[in-house]
């Protein structure tokens, strides 16, 4: 069996230009060495505060950005990935390695290959008001993937569009409307329809509910779960709202300053968070219960800028358990049993609990 998606040490840096001659002076290390595996058919939650690079990671996977380093394997048999890993160990120059990567590694794709990729991978943006072309009809917006990828056009495309439109809870009466004639929730439904019309296997949901109202949010979440079941989709659910992620996703990864600090099955991470940042993050979510009041903020200070992140463990300046080693060395993600990975010296120094 193979993973739906496997990231190996993925990096994406955005250059900053400055100085007299506008030379490249620094880089925003938005995604700085992320390695995760997403199982087929699961909903993989990606949580983090603003500027931690979660959205960039999503878009890099879709190859809307060109990664600076690392590998992206999408639905690649295990033996291939293993072979690549092995080859890289012995010599990076080998021709076979290059061939394999060009064939399987999305990071190396370009042009036509990417376009084919778009059928299998799609994205739903955070804010439907900006992600839908204001001068296009709903029909054309949703049909775009079909037409652009030459899957279908004309009447056929229109039929498929109407079909998917019904599926996401709108009617074919909406075909000839402009996006601004809809409410936020409906717009997001349109965006979902566009994402699913080409029947992808993997969909990235980038904060899909943060722009809609509380009462409508639940409708959308239900829609997502239904669609996932019916089209047997794999989701990557990017969000900063832990309460939603906890409910919708099977596994959760927590990101801080371009790195994954911890990932594990959902209830595991929410009931037994190991990384001090995860603990703080979960603790600072305001509980909707007036009888359970928290009197003090679990964390001081703010997220430092990703341009020059702290040495060693990026969390150490804010970390209550910071040790000297945290200031020098970067902790690696390590397995602590039952699919629970943490990158923290404090944790690893403790004895691993039996899973």
């Amino acid at each position: 069996m193979s993973y739906m998606l496997e990231l190996v040490n993925l990096k994406k840096h955005f250059p900053i230009f400055g100085g007299v001659l506008k030379r490249r002076v620094a880089a925003v290390k938005a995604v700085d060495g992320v390695s995760i595996k997403v199982n087929r058919g699961e909903c993989f939650g990606l949580v983090g505060e603003s500027g931690c690079g979660k959205t960039t990671l999503g878009k890099t996977i879709l190859r809307l950005y060109k990664p600076d380093a690392g590998k992206i394997f999408f639905d690649v048999p295990k033996d291939v990935t293993e072979e690549i890993a092995a080859l890289e160990k012995e010599n990076l120059k080998s021709r076979r390695l290059r061939r394999l990567r060009e064939q399987y590694d999305l990071a190396t794709y370009r042009g036509r290959e990417l376009q084919l990729l778009r059928r299998k991978m799609q994205i739903v943006y955070q804010d439907p008001t900006t992600s839908l072309d204001p001068r296009m009809f709903v029909k054309d917006i949703i049909a775009e993937p079909l037409v652009a990828q030459g899957i279908a056009r004309g009447e056929e495309a229109k039929k498929m569009v109407a079909e998917i439109l019904e599926r996401v809870g709108l009617t074919s009466g909406h075909l000839y409307r402009f996006p601004h004639e809809f409410s936020g929730g409906q717009r997001q439904r349109i965006a979902v329809a566009r994402a699913l019309v080409s029947r992808p296997e993997f969909v990235i949901l980038d904060e899909p509910t943060s722009a809609v109202d509380v009462s409508v949010r639940a409708q959308l979440l239900n829609l997502f779960t239904d669609l996932q079941r019916d089209f047997n989709l794999t989701f990557m659910f990017i969000s900063h709202d832990l309460s939603i992620v906890e409910c919708i996703s099977h596994r959760v990864a927590i990101m801080y300053l371009g790195k994954i600090v911890e990932y594990s099955p959902t209830e595991e991470i929410f009931h037994r968070p190991l990384h001090p940042y995860s603990q703080a993050l979960i603790a600072s979510v305001p509980v909707p219960d007036p009888t359970k009041r928290k009197e003090r903020a679990p964390l001081t200070g703010e997220v430092p800028s990703p341009v020059n992140p702290p040495m060693g463990c990026r969390f150490h300046p804010r970390c209550p358990l910071a040790m000297d080693v945290c200031k020098q060395k970067e902790p690696e993600l390590m397995d602590v049993g039952n699919g629970h990975f943490v990158a923290c010296f404090a944790v690893s120094s403790q004895t691993h609990y039996a899973g």
């Binding site: 878009k59 879709l62 809307l64 042009g111 036509r112 990417l114 376009q115 778009r118 059928r119 799609q122 994205i123 943006y125 804010d127 008001t129 900006t130 992600s131 839908l132 072309d133 204001p134 001068r135 296009m136 009809f137 054309d140 775009e144 993937p145 652009a148 990828q149 004309g154 009447e155 075909l175 000839y176 409307r177 402009f178 601004h180 965006a191 566009r194 994402a195 080409s198």
Partner: protein, 369 residues
Amino acid sequence: MSERSRFDEFKAGMRPRLKEWRFMLKRMRESRLALAGIIIVLIFVGIAVFAPLLAPPHGDPFSVPQDMEILVIQTSPTPPSTRHIFGTTDQQYDLYYACIWGSITAFRTGLTVVAFSLIVGLTIGTLAAMYGGLLDEALMRFTDIIIAFPGLILAMALVIALPGIFAINLSLVFLLVLVVASFLLLIFHFDKKILLIVQLLLLLSLLSILFFPVQMNLSLTRLDKVLLSIALVGWPGYTRVIRGEVMRVKNEDFVEAARASGSSDFRIIVKHIWPNTIYPILIVATLDIGSIVLTAAAMSFIGLGADPNFADWGQIIQRARNWISNVDLIVANLHAFLIPGIFITFFVMGWNLLGDALRDVLDPMLRRR
């Protein structure tokens, strides 16, 4: 698909658009200035269209008739009379005729220059914004330079520098066109066949340049020179504006979404970027027509305009230059520049009002997202 369904398609597609246009018109009608603008422009369109009826030409319609019978008696202008409704300017050119046919010249001036600038601007501006890099850098620096000149001055310099006759090497032009074409094809990665054909043609034209160059002589009238020079000075401004607009739209989420759904750059530009940039550009263009006409008129006033007997408003006023030294002459021949001046002013004002109105109407729609 069948005709019927295609028609339904069309109907269904038009209904909401019409709704928007009606909304715009409603807004327009609400502001008096806008209405005034529309009316003025329409009047001038009318004049231009019915010029042959209003002032029936003899021979070349754009050469203003001279009244020889008066000319033998006097050269200085005659005031409005039954014989010449607006009177005559010196050398006894008929003012009325000149004003009527001048409106056509005005439209020609404004529209051609704008059209030229738009075409150049859209292509270069879009490419620069989309693919940045060297092209963008070069463009920006070049526009920096062009903008450093007061437009009128540079245009003047060009007018006197442009030769009357251009010897154009057609094969060279052909070559350039093909180069650009193949460049575009490469960017928009079309299928390889077309590219191959283009490159073959390229080779051919190269050979033709080397061995059997195809020459063509293109002669410019003085008016052509004026238009050309204004256009040459004007296009960088447009390119800059369009570049800016494309830049703005290019970073919108929906463009990225289109890319995510597998659209080619070409499709993105045509389907998403241009439709979303068109309104601001439209406004700029409308407002510019007025100032182009003004520049042209100013150049004629200095004496760099069309031929002396050409039906052009600025050209007539230009004759007033000789009277400046003697103020009384100006007063005496007031009508000779007052009337054409009024024509120019209203023409320009019409377009400016229209552009202003367009801005007021379209901006909220642009914001409405």
